[in-house]
Amino acid sequence: MDKLLIAKSEPLWNTDKRIISLIGSLIVLLFALPHFGLNSFYLHLMIMIFMHAVMAQSWNVIAGFSGQISLGHGAFFGIGAYATSFLYVQYGISPWIGIFVGMIISGIAAVLIGIPMLRLSGHYFAIATLLIGISFQIIFQRWEWVGAASGVWVPMTSGDSLLALQFHSSKMPYYYIFLVFFIITFFLVWLLSRSKLGYRLRAVRDDPQAALSLCINVSNYKIIAYVISAMIMAPMGSLFAQYILIIDPDRVFNIEISIIVLLITVLGGIGNVWGPIVGAAILIPISEYSRIYLGGTGGAVDLILYGLILMLICIFRPEGLISFFPKNILERKKQR
């Protein structure tokens, strides 16, 4: 009986004060960072890390939590990008509203794609999503209403405008906007992973048959994960569109987007809330620097590097780089 009482008195989560203060100081550091004289390139690098960490976190929800490998997640990035740009250009609607519209459209698209596709198991779902990702690109390339292959050019405001989400004098406002989205997403996904929903999604991932015996409607939970994942992805497309102000199907529906979110997550640690952050913090600088030093347009060298990294991870660290951290620090799981 004593043992039961001891077990019940354990905290639900890791409440290690060192970890909490480490996260706290990291957040403070990230907010202070631009004031240490970061030049434009480093601001851009950090923005790309935040953006890709969120995108990978989105993929982590569907693949890492619910176990469905999506190879067409770029579709939701593109939807987000088009939603804000198109609504702003055509109707003058603020991109801030566009972000929410993009999230809602992505969510609806995920339901419509998810209902037939998530009935497919494993590899077939992956192949189907790959094709869906590509077909979004083809549809937008031919869809005159949204600018077809030439895409959407967002007219520049005369100066910085928070309402129009455009900043021309410095990248710093973008840095903070991406940072806030990054922190919010991270916090929400962390909550998700510790919620009843998170537990049930992991059950669906680990053994759908057993999940059914515990009153879990597996199909519905897969769709819920897909919708959440899509709704995390879309705002990054929206913000990216506002960041570069010119979008076209080749850029925002590129298959590379679907692949890189996978790479980042697998590199960092799939199914782990911290994985996408570690993955993005390592892979994005490699990508940006290889573009600088090994070829102007990126060429194929960064892709070769990605391939190499992925192979090494799969062979030596299938749980991702996060597995280098002691388990009981990041997770409350203890191996006694």
Partner: protein
């Protein structure tokens, strides 16, 4: 009061009649043992009752409500829990998390769900292993995990597929005690068992199957004397 009634249940796979016109009833608070040689259709019967396999013919009623054709998650929501012959723990999660997934069925609050899961883990005598990953547990411990997980949904009827199968002799008495303890707690149990001594000891009634057909149904004493059962099943015990 009868908790489950199965009427003329049939299911074929290709040309093989895995379950052929099976009928029986289970009274509340009792243990029904299901015996039969390999391939007799025992696990298929479980899959038909719990909705994992669709029936060709026949009807399954739970508290007089027809549940045939419902999906497994709906059936489990009604209060029918099960374990699997081929164990299905959530391998990459801890024992506690495995059981919590079950206790979330009746409990939304995470602390309460955790505490309830801990009580059940204590009930199956694995409290010290609560933070171990399911994949690190022994077969016997994983069987307890599955029982605990199924208990966490607070089932009125629990179907257990070969609880003592594949575990060492030393572990068996503990598992048997656990089944008895479960019955005492008011759960009705249907259990598939190959160990004839155990089934005779724990069951109130026994259903004997052979080649998809019901060959006998009765108390352990009646079954022991049943010639058909002796021919097809009990007679082979010495040989194995």
């Amino acid at each position: 009061m009868k908790i489950l009634s199965v009427e003329n249940l049939s299911r074929s796979f290709g040309g093989i009649k895995a379950n052929n016109d099976i009928s029986f009833e289970v009274a509340e608070g009792t243990i029904l043992g299901v015996i039969g040689p390999n391939g007799a259709g025992k696990s298929t019967l479980f899959d038909l009752i719990t909705g994992y396999t669709k029936t060709d013919n026949g009807k399954v009623s739970f508290f007089n409500k027809d549940i045939s054709g419902l999906s497994p998650d709906k059936i489990s929501s009604l209060g029918i829990g099960r374990t699997f012959q081929k164990l299905k723990p959530f391998a990459d999660q801890t024992l506690l998390e495995n059981v919590m997934i079950g206790s979330f069925v009746k409990e939304d609050n995470i602390k309460k769900a955790r505490d309830k899961a801990l009580e059940i883990i204590d009930f199956v005598d694995l409290i010290e292993k609560r933070h171990h990953f399911a994949r690190e547990l022994s077969t016997g411990q994983r069987k307890r995990l599955e029982m605990a997980r199924a208990m966490a949904i607070e089932p009125k009827l629990l179907l257990m597929d070969e609880v003592t199968g594949g575990v060492d002799q030393k572990t068996i008495p503990g598992l048997v005690e656990l089944i008895k303890k479960l019955k005492k707690s008011g759960v009705t149990i249907i259990t598939i068992e190959h160990n004839i001594n155990i089934i005779m000891e724990i069951s109130d009634n026994i259903l004997a199957l052979d080649q998809g057909k019901r060959i006998a149904y009765g108390t352990p004493k009646e079954i022991q004397k049943n010639e058909e059962v002796i021919d097809s099943y009990l007679g082979t015990v010495d040989a194995t």
